[in-house]
């Protein structure tokens, strides 16, 4: 049985819907779900088998994702770890780091938050001010991080810290414990009132040397070499949008307003286009980011229009809409992606 078929069957039997991941009980339930996925060897299919994976190809993974989202399975509570930190460790970590970190990530024993942004460093990520200062056997962190997704309830986090004055070469990539002394986490309520993000205040937080990735001053290079993972297909595989577009089509069948037919079909077409674009030739991360984030907004807008007046009340689509609205903002705003496309791909002058 191939991976797609196996995943479909397992999800059919085990699939479930859980409370919001941004509540304590929902978070715990999602962690358990990851444990069950791991036991079925479905949590990290692209990883080497030694870490619980199956060495699956990109194509296999895309098919797995299609099945996963078509089954309406829970969001991946550890996605920051699985799709951002893990590729970084595979590319730039030490063998010891991989052996120590990946197994407990794969089964969600340790859930990871990202800690990229700061109040003055959003789109301009290199403007980071939080500091990492040399100490005996490690580093001491000070400063403030924000828009840290999942941080309100996660175990550990990773991010860039300023270890020297040079804008890019003065940054170091570190991992730290969210429950360490000196760490304060303040949840940020989103539009729907839930805390998907948090601020992290760091006050003399000690981090041992073993939690530096790629060495002192290498943070920017390490982060940028895997930035595509944050923006592109590994963060938002086509399966998500194919599933959302199919849900939209089902909603339309329940409420077949002819005036909305074109928007429904257009959203469905664009989800196909994103899949084909991704699978046929591999896609520049910046292009994919712009495409999926704006598609997700369109899918949800069409759904709300179909729902009519009841769209004013909270529900799955209106919550999803609010989440979709954040898409063009996080993981590098779409404005930044357009700058990158213009300058690096089209070669337009600065």
């Amino acid at each position: 049985m191939n991976l797609r078929a196996e995943a479909r069957e397992w999800l059919r039997v085990n699939g479930t819907r859980l409370p919001s991941v941004d509540t304590p009980e929902g978070f715990a339930a999602h962690r358990e779900w990851e444990q069950r996925l791991f036991e079925a060897r479905l949590s990290v299919v692209t990883w080497p088998s030694e870490y619980g994976g199956r060495d699956a190809s990109l194509q296999d993974w895309l098919e797995f994702e299609e099945e996963y989202w078509a089954a309406d399975a829970p969001v991946r509570v550890n996605q920051n770890g699985l799709f951002l930190l893990a590729p970084t460790l595979f590319a730039h970590g030490t063998q010891a780091q991989r052996d120590r970190i990946l197994p407990r990530m794969a089964n969600a024993e340790v859930v990871w938050a990202q800690a990229w942004s700061e109040p003055s460093a959003g789109s301009d990520l290199a403007a980071i001010r939080s500091t990492a200062t040399r100490a005996d056997g490690g580093w001491v962190l000070n400063g403030q991080k924000t828009w840290s997704s999942r941080a309100a309830l996660a175990d550990r986090a990773f991010g860039l810290f300023r270890s020297g004055p040079d804008r890019h070469r003065g940054l170091t990539y570190l991992m730290f414990d969210l429950h360490a002394p000196g760490v304060t986490v303040r949840p940020i309520r989103q539009l729907n009132g839930e805390a998907g993000f948090a601020e992290i205040f760091l006050d003399d937080v000690f981090v041992p040397d073993e939690d530096v990735i790629g060495g002192e001053g290498e943070g920017w290079r390490v982060a940028m070499s895997t930035a595509g993972h944050e923006r592109g297909v590994s963060l938002r595989s086509p399966g998500r949008f194919l599933a959302a577009a199919d849900r939209l089509v089902r909603l339309w069948k329940e409420r077949p307003d002819p005036a909305l037919r074109d928007r429904v079909v257009d959203a469905w077409i664009d989800a196909q286009a994103y899949r084909l674009h991704t699978t046929s030739q591999g896609v520049e991360a910046s292009l994919g980011k712009v495409f999926w984030s704006e598609l997700d907004v369109r899918i949800h807008e069409a759904a709300l229009e179909l729902l009519g007046p009841s769209a004013q009340m909270r529900g799955r689509w209106s919550d999803g809409h609010i989440f979709a609205l954040a898409g063009p903002i996080y993981a590098g705003t779409n404005e930044i992606q357009r700058n990158l496309i213009a300058e690096r791909i089209l070669g337009l002058p600065r």
């Binding site: 959003g122 989103q190 307003d257 004013q312 909270r314 954040a326």
Partner: protein, 291 residues
């Protein structure tokens, strides 16, 4: 009219949190469109429209919408029982329109009336609703068919409702853009205020064009110079667009509970659906124009 706008804006500035009570007491806003013989100011809907545009700017909680609609319905039906107390602000009211699932300002209103098959009835609120837009009180209203009041021109009342709503939409859109413009002047990234980046400038320029056009349409509609459906379409679409861009242009803080962006966004969604979506009004216009 500009004097009225200035007065209202001054009250809103001086009395945050209790502006509505002050506007009733000091400006008599609920009596603006009620004839003098019934205790009102004998002005008209354009004056109410001007007040609503100001109230819409900061999404100030108020009951002017429902109260005005109900008083217009009562005037149509020839029922003067509550008009004096509506005019002096001591009684609040709401009007449920035929086929409208939710009624604005109904929960907590002293007087609730409903139009049904060409007649006006007393009515009761059977359910309060928790809408995404928490600045609005929405209720499900049931007419009491045993208590008829008189005849009601539901079509005309719906037109008034659309026009009054469009005033709030224009106010909200204008203010949402102002807040966004100010934010981009102060938020610095890459060593410059982000409002200096041309791509963002052009997006805000386009929003300004849209807001000014919407304002013209809404004001023309209350003056009887534009079709109310045109106002509903243009103002709904403009506020939705501005509120969506407000979130995007604010970046991360735009999606937080603390920042006002989400309140404009939820207002945009709520108003979009009240009294028919733009699509429903386009259908209506098409029927009137095209067939």
């Amino acid at each position: 009219m500009n004097e009225l706008r200035d007065t209202v804006r001054a009250v809103l500035r001086r009395h945050p949190g209790q502006a509505w009570e002050k506007l009733c007491a000091e400006v008599g806003v609920t009596g603006l469109a009620i004839p003098e013989e019934h205790g009102g100011a004998g002005a008209g809907l354009p004056e109410v429209h001007a007040v609503l545009e100001e109230l819409g700017r900061d999404l100030t909680p108020h009951r002017l919408h429902g109260t005005t609609l109900a008083s217009q319905a009562l005037l149509q039906a020839g029922d003067t029982r509550w008009l004096k107390r509506i005019a002096d602000g001591s009684v609040t009211a709401a009007l449920a329109l035929d086929g409208e699932p939710y009624t604005l300002d109904a929960p907590g209103a002293d007087v609730v009336v409903a139009s049904h098959n060409g007649r006006l009835y007393e009515a009761t609120v059977t359910r309060s609703c928790t809408a995404l837009d928490e600045s609005r009180a929405l209720g499900v209203v049931e007419p009491d068919l045993t208590r008829p009041i008189g005849s009601a021109n539901a079509g005309r009342l719906r037109e008034i409702a659309c026009v009054l709503l469009s005033a709030e939409q224009v106010g909200a859109a204008a203010r949402a853009l102002e807040i966004t413009v100010e934010y981009t002047k102060t938020r610095v990234q890459f060593g410059r205020p982000i409002g200096a980046f041309q791509a963002l400038q052009h997006r805000m320029a386009d929003l300004h064009v849209a807001v000014e056009a919407a304002r013209a349409v809404s004001r023309a509609a209350v003056a009887g110079q534009a079709h109310p459906s045109v106002a509903k379409v243009v103002c709904s679409e403009t506020l939705m667009r501005v509120a969506g861009e407000m979130i995007q242009l604010h970046g991360g803080i735009g999606i937080t509970w603390e920042h006002s962006a989400h309140r404009y966004f939820k207002r945009a969604h709520g108003s979009w659906h009240l009294y028919g979506t733009p699509d429903a009004h386009v259908k209506r216009l098409a029927a009137a124009r095209l067939d």
